[in-house]
């Protein structure tokens, strides 16, 4: 298995772990007030902002650790640049990732149109963000294994 395939798998697993553990951490902190209270909106706002920060920091740390482990275990240096195949695969991964997020965004807006609670809108938005991240990693893994 090549460096890029391993990196895609690590990225996929870390995305699932980060999102899962963050949700478990935030779940008990959900405000008990009314569903549409200001506190609830504050909760969802902080959820998104903190998740963004945490996932960026965690991804950077995991990437550094992965590179160190890769060098130690394989005695191989990781590629220092992206060539045309990498760029093509990244483009395809981004396209699929954005597509998933746009579907989630439209569903979230649709939930407001049919008078669903605003909580559902936040849940759909956050879930679609997670799904789009996973889709990007899966697309990369697929194209690195099966070709373009």
């Amino acid at each position: 298995m090549t460096y890029q395939e391993k990196k895609s798998i690590v990225s996929l697993i870390s995305a699932i772990l980060i999102f899962g553990s963050f949700c478990l951490y935030m779940y008990p902190q959900f405000p008990e007030g009314g569903l549409e209270s200001t506190e609830t909106f504050r909760f969802w706002g902080s959820f998104v902002l903190i998740l963004t920060l945490v996932s960026i920091v965690a991804h950077i740390m995991i990437s550094i650790i992965f590179n160190i482990v890769f060098r130690i275990t394989t005695n191989e240096k990781e590629p220092s640049f992206e060539d045309e195949l990498d760029k093509l695969i990244t483009l395809k991964a981004n396209r699929n990732s954005f597509f998933m997020f746009i579907i989630g965004f439209l569903l979230a807006m649709g939930s407001l149109v049919i008078s669903q609670p605003s909580q559902l809108m936040f849940l759909i938005l956050i879930t679609s963000g997670f799904v789009s991240d996973v889709t990007g990693s899966v697309t990369k893994l697929y194209h690195y294994r099966k070709g373009v």
């Binding site: 460096y3 590629p79 045309e84 990498d86 194209h143 690195y144 099966k146 070709g147 373009v148």
Partner: protein, 74 residues
């Protein structure tokens, strides 16, 4: 993946050039080893520029490294 009609003799040519490694060819062509692996497996059709760079690495004309036609995947 989709139909890949561009085939190549890279594996054979590497062997004929003092058993050049995939990494050595990748360094000469300015790509990663992963790309050479994908090319040898027939999973990727290179850009014209990369095809020329690979042919140049073997000191051969383009058509002796790459070919176009059906049943290129082995």
């Amino acid at each position: 993946m989709g139909k890949n009609l561009v085939g190549n003799h890279i594996r054979k040519l590497r062997f004929n050039h003092d058993e050049m490694t995939q990494q050595q060819l990748a360094d000469k062509a300015g790509v990663t080893r992963q790309t050479i692996v994908a090319l040898e497996k027939g999973n990727y059709s290179p850009s014209l520029e990369l095809a020329f760079r690979i042919a140049h690495a073997f000191n051969l004309p383009l058509e002796e490294v790459f070919f176009y036609g059906e049943n290129t995947k082995k």
